[in-house]
């Protein structure tokens, strides 16, 4: 096991030196990402606050998902990816030396575009991450599983069939299960990559309500194609275009009074 250099921090209580209250939780500084020779992210600098919902919007291929996956280092899995610049979370450079990626991903959870429950029972899906990080006690597991499923607004629908297959759930339920699985290990940040893009409008509404509920406890960064969705659920919005951050502001400003012409054209549907 690598040395753990990201200590468990409750952002409300102990803060690393240099970050006072109101300091951003995530600091992205001059970040560039290359797939081989092509530059997918171009010198992005962005600070994200805690316990707010930040939406990344922009047309396909603008780099918003790539940036999201930089925050829990999921891009490490892809060959030929090179990163310049820095990303720090809670004052720790996550691309620095001796960073334990396992510990990072424990603190920065992720929900994917396509719901991807494990072909296990509903219970085991939620318990997977807990067992992974050493929780063995049955009653403790039961408690956290229930708490997480309640947190994902799924408990009432599945409490009578916890031990049947997760693959028997509907698409929307599966996605909420994935959210339950992500929040079970108590991350500080939850990354969501177009979590509702494959769902019908009713299931989408439920996910959106859930996100608003989750932001009381978690910092949420969401990538979305759906502009109304960004407007409905996010506090801050970042607009990307071909790898560049064009504008970042409160969601209200971005949608009502953007500073840049490109942003206005995009949010009003003139292109993209």
């Amino acid at each position: 096991m690598a040395e753990i250099t990201l200590p468990k921090i409750n952002p409300l209580q102990s803060r690393p030196a240099g970050t006072g209250p109101g300091e951003p939780l995530i600091k992205i500084n001059d970040l560039s990402l290359f797939y081989g020779a092509s530059k997918a992210l171009k010198n992005v600098s962005l600070n994200l606050g805690e316990k707010v919902v930040t939406a990344f919007i922009g047309p396909s291929g603008c780099g918003k998902s790539t940036l999201l996956r930089c925050l829990n280092r999921m891009n490490d899995l892809i060959d030929n990816v090179r990163i310049e610049g820095s990303v720090s979370i809670g004052g720790h450079d996550i691309y620095g030396d001796n960073v334990d990626v396992i510990e990072l991903r424990k603190r920065v959870g992720m929900v994917f575009q396509k719901s991807n429950p494990f072909p296990k029972s509903i219970y085991e899906n939620v318990a997977y991450g807990l067992r992974l990080h050493g929780m063995k006690d049955k009653s403790e597991l039961d408690g956290v599983v229930e708490q997480s499923l309640r947190g994902a607004a799924l408990w009432d629908e599945v409490k009578d069939r916890l031990h049947s297959s997760a693959l028997g759930l509907s698409g929307g339920q599966q996605q909420r299960l994935c959210i339950a699985r992500a929040i079970a290990i108590r991350p500080e940040i939850v990354l969501m990559d177009e979590p509702a893009s494959a769902l019908d409008p009713i299931a989408t509404t439920r996910i959106e309500e859930l996100i608003l509920e989750l932001k009381k406890e978690f910092t949420i960064v969401i990538v979305t194609h759906n502009m109304q969705q960004a407007a409905r659920i996010s506090d801050y919005t970042a607009f990307f275009y071909i790898g560049e951050l064009i504008e970042f502001d409160t969601t209200t400003r971005i949608f009502t009074n953007p500073a840049k012409r490109q942003t206005e054209d995009y949010v009003t549907g003139r292109f993209g």
């Binding site: 396992i102 510990e103 424990k106 991807n116 072909p119 992974l132 031990h163 297959s165 699985r181």
Partner: protein
């Protein structure tokens, strides 16, 4: 007269063509089924008459061309043990190789491509060549050196035996297992790996807990194919372990063994009285078929059980 608004999109030609090809594919299927049916019927009908409990449970004492004194117990034991020992070797090695190729090796690297080419070429090598390889490598090199190192006064490892025959068969069936496992691993959705890694699992944990269990039915399919292929192979064991006749059952992995497939060859070529031997030959072939079927059935049962568990976990 048809109503003027009715449109028939299908032309006569299309229907004729469709009919022709449906017929052709159907005919091909019937042909294959017919061949299978003829072989099976012939073997079962003719073999059934000679098949008896005595036949499958006794060791031939003096003349195995005589139906009254012969039996196929040593051959059943020999074939079953060489197939099972082979499975013990080929499954782990094949699965680990496939895991390396699909999960760890960089896809475009020269090494990966060389390994893949080697695996494919291995599949194309004639089985008699594997037999010679087994003799040259396992017996004359590995076995003789083992004997030398262990100071055995007589050859123990450096002679044909169950273990070397099984290893030779394992090398031969390795491509089958590797290819089947690779396909099974590739069929596991990338999203499952990402979900596990995003929860803070290591790559190894992800492979052990998520990827391999999901791929297990496909891996077992590879195992079934390997068993089916190996059970009927005679050429690779000719120089590596099979015996023409043994008065007693093999006791150790280093013993030689009698084998059903080889025995079929012996019965059909070495007999002086064809009329007397023919019923024994049929019965032996039937036993070989049944044994292969039984070995497959075990694997199929395990696989079905696994699939059922995966589908409904309750």
């Amino acid at each position: 007269m048809s109503a003027p608004n009715t449109i028939d999109f299908r032309t006569k030609q299309f229907r004729a063509g469709s009919f022709f090809f449906t017929g052709l594919t159907g005919l091909a299927t019937v042909l294959i089924l017919a061949i299978l049916a003829i072989i099976l019927t012939d073997v079962i009908v003719n073999g059934w008459r000679t098949l008896s409990w005595h036949f499958v449970s006794s060791i031939p004492t003096k003349d195995f061309f005589d139906r009254n004194t012969t039996g196929v117990l040593p051959m059943i034991i020999g074939t079953a043990s060489r197939v099972m020992v082979m499975t013990l070797f080929v499954l782990p090695v094949g699965v680990i190789t496939a895991v390396y190729l699909t999960e760890y090796a960089p896809n475009s690297s020269v090494v990966t491509r060389i390994i893949r080419a080697a695996v494919n070429n291995l599949a194309g090598v004639p089985s008699i060549v594997f037999g010679l390889f087994g003799l040259g490598f396992f017996i004359n090199f590995v076995g003789k050196n083992l004997d030398a190192v262990l100071h055995n006064p007589t050859a123990v490892w450096g002679q044909p035996s169950i273990i070397w025959a099984s290893l030779t068969l394992a090398v031969m069936t390795l491509p089958v297992v590797i290819v089947a496992t690779e396909e099974a691993l590739k069929a596991v959705p990338q999203g499952l790996r990402e979900a596990s890694l995003a929860l803070g699992a290591t790559k190894l944990k992800t492979i052990l807990k998520i990827v391999l269990p999901q791929a297990m039915p496909g891996i077992l399919t590879g195992g079934i194919l390997a068993v089916s292929r190996a059970a009927g192979e005679v050429a690779p064991i000719l120089f590596t372990g099979v015996a023409y006749y043994m008065g007693s059952l093999p006791q150790h992995l280093t013993d030689r063994f009698m084998d059903l497939g080889y025995h079929v060859f012996v019965l059909s070529t070495q007999s002086t009285n064809i009329e007397q031997t023919e019923p024994i030959l049929y019965a032996t072939v039937l036993v070989l078929l049944l044994l292969t079927f039984a070995l497959n059935l075990v694997a199929i049962f395990i696989r079905a059980n696994m699939r059922r568990k995966m589908r409904s976990l309750h």
